[in-house]
Symmetry: C2
Subunit: 350 residues, 2 copies
């Protein structure tokens, strides 16, 4: 895993060779971004289940599988792609163990499924990127928040995938990148990724979007999402909600880009999405140095929920979903290949 | 001058004994906050005019006085209190020189006026603080942005003066303080000032206000201002506008607290207020360390304009001004003592 905590200063890789390594990498945000976390968790599940299959009988392994999922699910509570990935691995592993199988076969089958999830993400993001790019006008000025590029989501990226696709399609987009306090993923990762592709980009503080929209041309806002409820309410990095409110006030279209694995069929509204609270030291310190008085209290919710009424469209691999989202999301899942694929995977594993 | 760049880590004083020292102190934000800048500029003008009066004839000094004002006015272009203070000093100095006066008398009279402006600010802020505190409910939860406490405005403070007054009136306010990127005045100065008085305070990132208003009780927002147009449009630290838009979306009352010296009779709307653009290094670096990729472009407007329609009231030393502001601001100046006082000062100098 490219250690995202150390970018853009250092290009260092973290060798995650064990289950504990992967849990640590997700929790500590060595790997981050909802889809990337999902892929990492899939490999984490496969590695651990395979390791245990060499030591345990099938019936005992079956009893332990839910705890592997649980440990992974608890590393980051908000992103649902993680649960989606561990659900798929758990179902597949249970199916495999329902009939006699060698531990080597079990290992190769579970690792294959993790790899398949990885490959699916790359394909999915390519579809999201090309579909979303149809929303981008020539010379568009775009604001994005946090990081939804290749590092976060594998392959093209989602929100950043759309921008990169528009760039390579010679639409000449200019991107204003929110630095994304407190962890500065916009400043550190998005600016770095855009520089790799030579996309025109300007760093701004999260509080400058209103100034920008009132004084310069801003054509659209695009961000990723970490979990989307069935009514379209979308959890994403803290600050996305403020940006969406400011965009609405200026009648600037606000789009979310996310794969269907980001949707949570159980969450009816944003109120059903748990919001991770992280250590306040992320707010009080930057690069290990205090930016405030000693001993102060700080709040550090990692995400917020943007209500559906502020979202003009959700770009997915099956098209751009539009309000009313209850209907368009349901329809997307009806026609989606991923539910079918998931069933096929389980079938194939059997 | 208490060096505000070094707080809260170090309590260091900067000796500004010359005109150039004072210009440097304002430009480099050793002293900051619109009213404090005004007071510093008043002393700067007095020191320089007095120094020159010992070397030049009255007629030659008269020719040089406008350039003293111009140099001071150019240190920070947005805060109007600075112009207001240098206008007063210039008018008084011109009046003094219209009749024979010794250079010692000239020196003591101009320094007296600077001291008077200082004393006025302290009285003014006391009135603003006690008046504004009538808006604060018992156990109120308040968001503030940047720093409008004693460091910024002399004496009680304006926005923070109201909060401090409410605290000492045992109204038990709880303050959420925006860190205020890019210079973190909220994290560095406001949190430090609130800690001195033991006011309950929680540091947040600028992008968390929407999360806070949608998930917890927030009763009001109060900020200071750097320049207010005659229609009520208010320039204040970058991010104030975003906060006001988010407050409006949640129907949370948004108040400005500022002395009448912050109003610009020449600016009809916010569009007439110049916005200072500062070095992009303030955005790309924190405490001298880069937080982004090498060579990136960054935008750094120091202020934004909150339109009058987002402001529920402007707390001044002559009362709380309410919409429509064109009328209430005109009325405030009609009844204000400061215009009269200004004329009296000039009269007195004569």
């Amino acid at each position: 895993l490219l250690d995202q905590r150390k970018l853009p200063g250092q290009l260092e890789y973290f060798d995650a060779t064990s289950f504990d390594d992967l849990c640590f990498a997700i929790k500590e945000m060595i790997v981050r971004g909802a889809p990337s976390i999902g892929v990492a968790a899939a490999f984490g599940f496969a590695i651990e289940a395979a390791r245990l299959s060499h030591m345990l009988k099938a019936e005992n392994l079956l009893k332990l599988l839910p705890s592997i999922k649980e440990k992974l699910d608890n590393t980051r509570p908000t992103a649902v792609n993680l649960h989606w990935a561990t659900d798929r691995l758990l179902a597949a592993a249970v199916a495999l163990l329902s009939e006699p199988i060698t531990s080597d076969d079990f290992r190769s089958r579970t690792l294959s499924l993790a790899q398949e999830i990885f490959d699916e993400h790359i394909q999915t993001n390519c579809k999201i990127s090309s579909t979303g790019a149809t929303l981008v006008k020539q010379n568009a000025s775009i604001i994005t928040h946090c990081n939804a590029g290749p590092l976060a989501v594998c392959g093209w990226g989602t929100a950043l995938g759309i921008i990169r696709f528009a760039h390579f399609a010679v639409l000449n987009p200019h991107v204003y990148v929110d630095e994304t306090r407190p962890r500065n993923q916009g400043a550190k990762l998005t600016m770095w990724e855009l520089a790799q592709d030579k996309v025109a980009a300007t760093l701004i503080c999260d509080n400058m979007s209103g100034y920008l929209m009132s004084s310069r041309k801003v054509d659209m806002v695009i961000t990723g999402a970490d979990r989307i409820a069935t009514n379209g309410d979308s959890a994403n990095k803290i600050g996305t909600y403020n940006l969406a409110v400011v965009a609405k006030y200026h009648s600037v279209p606000f789009y979310i880009a996310a794969p269907l694995s980001t949707f949570d069929a159980v969450a009816k509204t944003g109120g059903d999405i748990p919001i991770e609270e992280r250590d306040s030291i992320e707010v009080t310190h930057i690069e290990g140095k205090s930016i405030t008085a000693q001993g102060v209290c700080a709040l550090n919710p990692a995400f917020d929920v943007t209500p559906a009424q502020l979202i003009d469209g959700i770009v997915t691999e099956v098209g751009i979903l539009r309000p009313p989202y209850l209907a368009s999301i349901a329809a997307a899942f009806g026609q989606s290949t991923f539910v079918r694929q998931q069933n096929e995977n389980i079938q194939y594993m059997k």
